[in-house]
C-alpha cells in the first residue's frame, strides 16, 4: 500500500526518517567540525521530535521522558561539549580533506539500499512502514560507522559514535514504540557517561600527541617496517 493510504502519524514518521537519513548524509560529507557538530545536534532534534510525536500519537507517557533525555543529551550537552573542545583546540578553522568524498557518498547510498535488502524479511511480519523505518535506522547506523571510518578527527569519531546511537534510538522508537523504561534509562546513562569519558579522553589525547588526529595513535601495531 502506498503513502496516501497511510495515516498522518505514519507519514510524519516516514518523513522524519527521511530527514534523519539526510542528516547522516550531510554529516558524512562534512569536513568542517563545527558544522558537523551542528548537523549532529540537528539530528538529535529530529529524534526528539520523532519521540515526542510517537509519545503523543501513541499516548505512551514514558516516551516523553526519553524525548527529554534525548533533548538534553544529544541536542544540548554533547554538542556543547564537542564544540567547546573544538574551540579549545582551535580546530574550528581547519577543514579536514576527505579523500574521495563522492565515492564515500555513493557507498552511503549503496548502504541504504543494502539495509532495505537485508531487512526485507521483516515485511512478512509487519507493514512496509516498519520496513522503511528500520531500514532507515539501520542505514543511519551504518552511515555512522562509515563516518568514523572516513574521518580522521577524534571529534568526528565521537559524532559518528553518537550518530550510531541515534540510529539505534530511532529504530527503538519507530519499530517498537520505545524500549522498556529500565533499558531506556540504562542506555541514556551509558551515553551520558560515554560523553563525559570522551571529554576526558580528548584532554588526554591532546596532552599525549597534541592533536586529535586518530591516525597518529598508531604506536601499538605489529607490522614490521
Amino acid at each position: 500500500m502506498n503513502i496516501e493510504q497511510q495515516d498522518f502519524y505514519t507519514q510524519a514518521i516516514l518523513s522524519m526518517a527521511a530527514l534523519v537519513g539526510l542528516t547522516s548524509f550531510l554529516m558524512l560529507g562534512q569536513g568542517r567540525l563545527l558544522r558537523l557538530i551542528f548537523v549532529f545536534a540537528l539530528q538529535g532534534l529530529l529524534l526528539t521530535l520523532t519521540t515526542a510525536l510517537a509519545a503523543y500519537s501513541l499516548d505512551s507517557p514514558h516516551l516523553y521522558i526519553s524525548a527529554m533525555l534525548t533533548l538534553i543529551l544529544k541536542v544540548i550537552f554533547i554538542p556543547w561539549m564537542l564544540r567547546r573542545q573544538v574551540l579549545l583546540m582551535n580546530m574550528h578553522r581547519d577543514v579536514e580533506a576527505l579523500k574521495n568524498n563522492t565515492a564515500v557518498m555513493l557507498g552511503g547510498a549503496g548502504l541504504m539500499v543494502f539495509s532495505y535488502y537485508v531487512l526485507h524479511p521483516i515485511v512478512q511480519t509487519s507493514s512496509a512502514i516498519m520496513l522503511n523505518a528500520l531500514a532507515f535506522s539501520l542505514s543511519v547506523v551504518l552511515l555512522g560507522m562509515l563516518l568514523m571510518i572516513s574521518h580522521r578527527q577524534a571529534v568526528a569519531h565521537v559524532v559518528g559514535f553518537m550518530a550510531i546511537e541515534n540510529g539505534l534510538f530511532f529504530a527503538a522508537i519507530v519499530a517498537t514504540k520505545g524500549m522498556p523504561m529500565v533499558v531506556e534509562l540504562g542506555v541514556a546513562f551509558d551515553v551520558l557517561v560515554a560523553a563525559v569519558l570522551f571529554g576526558i579522553f580528548f584532554f588526554h589525547i591532546r596532552t599525549s600527541i597534541d592533536s586529535l588526529d586518530v591516525d597518529r595513535l598508531n604506536r601499538l601495531h605489529e607490522v614490521d617496517q
Binding site: 543494502f114 537485508v118 571510518i149 580522521r152 595513535l217 607490522v223
Partner: protein, 710 residues
C-alpha cells in the same frame, strides 16, 4: 587383582620418591613433625627418637637423596615383580580408578604386553636407582636443585608405568603427556647452557605434535565406536581407508617419540643433554614405551592389519636402522652417538614389527607371533645394553670430564672394571654371539627367512633385501662400536684428563653396570627363559604361540622347527670355553716362554710415537665417509698456515669436519620458515590504525548480513 597390587605400588612409590625429593629444603618441617610425633612418647630421650638422627643438618641432603633413590628402586623392583607376575599368570586384569571424567573413570588393564614392558621399565629403573646417588652427588644444590631432578624423575617413571596401565584413550593420553612433560623438564634441567634449552624446546614441540597425532588417531577410532575405552575402540568397525588413516596417525605419533627417521631429529639433541641416568631412561625405556603404544594401537586396537602397513613399517624401519647407525658412526660425542644408535635399534624393532604385520595380514599368525616376539625381545635387549652404555657414558663423563671420544683413550688401564662392563655392552649392541643382542637379531633373520610362504612377489623380493640391509646394519654397528671402545679405552690417552682418570669410587654406579652387563650375558646364554614368557604376550595379542620355541629343552632355541633352524648358546659357550681353555693351557705351559717381554711398538724407525699419531674417530670413519658420502651433509675444511720464503712451506694444518643430518634442512627448517612467514602475513592485520579496525568490523557486519539474507 593380586597382580595389580604391585603394579599400583610401583606407580605410588615412584610418585613418592618424586614428592620426597621436594622435601630437600623442608628439613625443619620434617624435624618438627618428628618431634611432635615423639612428644606422644614422653618416655624416650630425644636421641633415640626415630628419624631425628637422620635429620641433622649435615647429613640430611645425602640421606634424603639416598632415600629418594631407594624409593625409586623399590618401585623398580615392584614393577619387575608385577611384570613377571603378569607374564607368569598369563591373565589380563582390569580395574577402574575413580579419577578422570564423570562418565569415564580411568580404566586400567594389565595384561601380558603391559607386564612385559613393566619388566623392561622395572629393570632399567632399578639399575638407575642404584646408579643415581653416586651420579647426582656432584651437582651443587644452588645451581642444580636436586628437588627438581628428583621430582621429575619420579613423575617420569610414574608416567611411563601409567601409560602401560592405561586402558582408555583419555587416561592413556594423560599418562603419555605426563611422561613427555616430566622428561622435558629433565632435559631442561641444566638449563644454563643453551644447548639444553634448544634441545628441550625441540623435544617438547615434537612430543606435542606427536601427542596430537595420537589423539587424532584415537579420535578416528572413537568416531566409529561408542566410548573411549580400549574395549570400545576394539569394537570400532572402520573402513580400510579410515583404518589406514588411523594407522598413519599412530605411526606418526608413536614414531615421533620412538625416533624414526626422518622425524628423529629431537632425539640426538635431547637425550645427550639430560643427566646420564635420565638419558639412559629416555633412550633405553621411553622409546620402548613408544613401541608399546604402537603395538597396542596396531596389533590390539586396530582390528585387521593390512599388509601395506607392514610394508610401510618395514621400509621406515630399514631406513631408520641404516640411517641411525650411519649417523651414529660420525658423532664425536659419545652420548649423541648412543642416541643415534637408539634410532638404529628402534628401526630394527619397527622392521620386525612390519614383518609380523605382513605375516599376520597374509594369514600366518604363527610367523606373525615369531616376528612380534623378535621385536619384543629386541626391545628388551636394547633396553638392557643401551642403559648399560649410557650409564657407562655417565661414569666416563664424571671421570674424564668430557664426552668427546677424541679426547679419551687408554682408559682400560685406569678404569678396568668400567671398561670391561662397557665392553660387554659394546659386544651386545654389535650383536656378537653369546650376548643378548645377537639372539634377537638372529630371530629377526629367521623371521625374514620365512618369506617363502608368501605369495606376493613384491613382498617376496622386498623382505630379503631388507634382511640384507639388516645385515649391513649389524656390520656397521660392529664397526661403530669397535671405534667407540677402541678409541675410548684402548691406545694412549689423548688428553690430560683421561691420563688422570680414576675408576669410579662409588660402588653403586659400578653395581648398576654390573647388574645390566650380567643380564646382557645371562639372556644371551639363556634366551629361552624370556622367550617362554614372551609367548604369553603373543598368545594374548595374536592368539598364537611359537609351535616349539623351547621344544628340545631350555638350552635349545628353535623358533620355527628344529629342521629349519636352531641355536644353542649354551653349547657354543661350552665349546668356546673348551677351546680357549685348552689353547691357553697348552701354549703357556712352558715356564720360560710363559712370561711376555714388553717393548716399544713399531714406529717405522722414526721414534717418538705419541698419542696424537693414533687414529682419531674421524680418521677411523673416513672410509665410511667416502663410501656412503651421500648420507650426510659433510662440511670438510683443510686450511694451511703458510710461512717462510714467499709462503711456500706449511707451518700448521687445521682440519675441520662437520657432519650434519639431512632432515634438518629438508624437513624442519622449511616448516619453521613457513610458520614465521604466515605469522608475518597475519601481523599485517594489526596495523595500529583505528579507522582500519573500524573498517574490519564494518566489513564483517556487511558480509555477515549479506550471508544471512541469502
Amino acid at each position: 587383582m593380586m597382580v595389580l597390587m604391585p603394579a599400583y605400588a610401583a606407580v605410588l612409590f615412584s610418585f613418592a620418591s618424586g614428592l620426597l625429593a621436594l622435601m630437600t629444603h623442608r628439613r625443619p618441617l620434617l624435624e618438627s613433625l618428628c618431634l611432635r610425633y615423639a612428644a606422644r612418647f614422653p618416655g624416650r630421650q630425644p636421641g633415640r627418637i626415630p628419624l631425628v638422627g637422620l635429620l641433622e643438618e649435615s647429613r640430611y641432603p645425602i640421606r634424603l637423596r639416598q632415600a629418594v633413590f631407594v624409593l625409586l628402586g623399590i618401585s623398580g623392583l615392584l614393577a619387575v615383580l608385577a611384570g613377571s607376575a603378569a607374564l607368569v599368570s598369563q591373565s589380563a586384569v582390569t580395574d577402574q580408578i575413580g579419577l578422570g571424567l564423570p562418565w569415564l573413570p580411568w580404566h586400567v588393564r594389565f595384561d601380558g604386553l603391559s607386564g612385559f614392558f613393566f619388566l623392561i621399565v622395572g629393570i632399567a629403573v632399578s639399575a638407575v636407582s642404584l646408579y643415581g646417588p653416586g651420579y647426582v652427588q656432584t651437582y651443587q644444590e644452588e645451581k642444580h636443585p636436586f628437588a627438581v631432578l628428583g621430582l621429575f624423575t619420579g613423575l617420569f617413571v610414574a608416567g611411563m608405568l601409567l601409560v602401560l596401565l592405561a586402558d582408555d584413550a583419555f587416561f592413556f593420553m594423560i599418562a603419555w603427556e605426563l611422561m613427555s612433560v616430566a622428561s622435558y623438564f629433565l632435559v631442561a634441567f641444566q638449563h644454563e647452557n643453551p644447548a639444553n634449552r634448544r634441545a628441550a624446546f625441540l623435544y617438547l614441540l615434537m612430543a606435542e605434535v606427536g601427542a596430537l597425532a595420537i589423539i587424532l588417531g584415537f579420535g578416528v577410532l572413537a568416531g566409529f565406536s561408542d566410548g573411549l575405552t580400549f574395549d570400545a575402540l576394539r569394537q570400532a568397525n572402520l573402513s580400510t581407508g579410515w583404518a589406514s588413516i588411523a594407522f598413519v596417525l599412530a605411526l606418526l605419533g608413536f614414531g615421533m617419540k620412538a625416533g624414526i627417521v626422518p622425524i628423529h631429529v629431537w632425539l640426538p639433541e635431547a637425550h645427550p643433554v639430560a643427566p646420564s641416568h635420565i638419558s639412559a631412561l629416555m633412550s633405553g625405556v621411553m622409546l620402548k614405551v613408544a613401541v608399546y603404544g604402537l603395538i597396542r594401537f596396531c596389533f590390539d586396537l586396530l582390528a585387521d592389519a593390512q599388509w601395506q602397513w607392514g610394508v610401510v613399517l618395514l621400509v621406515l624401519g630399514t631406513i631408520s636402522a641404516l640411517g641411525g647407525i650411519l649417523y651414529a658412526m660420525m658423532q664425536p660425542n659419545l652420548k649423541r652417538l648412543l642416541a643415534y644408535s637408539s634410532v638404529e635399534n628402534i628401526g630394527i624393532i619397527f622392521m620386525v614389527l612390519g614383518l609380523a604385520m605382513i605375516f599376520l595380514a597374509n594369514g600366518f599368525p604363527q610367523l606373525a607371533a615369531l616376528g612380534l616376539l623378535a621385536a619384543l625381545l629386541h626391545a628388551f635387549n636394547h633396553a638392557l645394553f643401551k642403559n648399560l652404555l649410557f650409564l657407562g657414558a655417565g661414569i666416563l663423563q664424571h671421570q674424564v670430564h668430557s664426552l668427546d671420544i677424541d679426547s679419551m683413550g687408554g682408559l682400560i688401564k685406569r678404569m678396568p672394571q668400567t671398561s670391561f662392563l662397557f665392553l660387554i655392552g659394546c659386544m651386545s649392541i654389535s650383536s656378537l654371539p653369546l650376548f643378548n643382542g645377537f639372539v634377537s637379531e638372529w630371530l629377526a633373520f629367521q623371521t625374514a627367512l620365512q618369506v617363502d610362504v608368501l605369495d606376493n612377489g613384491v613382498l617376496r623380493s622386498l623382505i630379503p633385501v631388507s634382511a640384507a640391509a639388516l645385515a649391513l646394519t649389524a656390520a656397521l654397528a660392529a664397526a661403530c662400536f669397535v671405534k667407540v671402545f677402541g678409541l675410548i679405552f684402548l691406545g694412549l690417552p689423548r688428553s690430560r684428563h683421561s691420563e688422570k682418570a680414576q675408576e669410579a669410587e662409588n660402588k653403586g654406579m659400578l653395581l648398576a653396570l654390573k647388574l645390566l652387563a650380567g643380564l646382557c650375558f645371562f639372556f644371551g646364554i639363556f634366551p629361552t627363559l624370556i622367550i617362554g614368557a614372551l609367548n604369553t604376550v603373543a598368545k594374548q595379542l595374536i592368539g598364537q604361540v611359537l609351535p616349539n620355541a623351547t621344544l628340545l629343552s631350555w638350552m635349545w632355541l628353535a623358533p620355527v622347527s628344529v629342521q629349519k633352524a636352531s641355536y644353542s648358546p649354551v653349547l657354543v659357550l661350552i665349546g668356546v670355553l673348551i677351546a680357549t681353555g685348552f689353547t691357553f693351557w697348552y701354549l703357556r705351559r712352558n715356564p720360560d716362554t710363559k712370561s711376555m717381554r714388553r717393548s716399544g711398538a713399531w714406529d717405522c724407525g722414526f721414534g717418538g710415537l705419541n698419542a696424537r699419531m693414533q687414529y682419531s674417530s674421524s680418521a677411523f670413519t673416513m672410509p665410511f665417509r667416502r663410501i656412503f658420502a651421500k648420507v650426510w651433509l659433510i662440511d670438510e675444511q683443510i686450511d694451511k698456515d703458510m710461512q717462510g720464503a714467499q709462503d711456500m712451506d706449511v707451518a700448521a694444518i687445521h682440519y675441520r669436519l662437520q657432519v650434519q643430518d639431512h632432515s634438518w634442512p629438508k624437513l624442519y627448517q622449511p616448516i619453521a620458515h613457513g610458520i614465521n612467514a604466515a605469522a608475518r602475513l597475519v601481523g599485517r592485520i594489526q596495523t595500529g590504525n583505528i579507522r582500519v579496525y573500524l573498517g574490519y568490523s564494518f566489513v564483517t557486519l556487511i558480509v555477515m548480513l549479506w550471508v544471512v539474507s541469502l
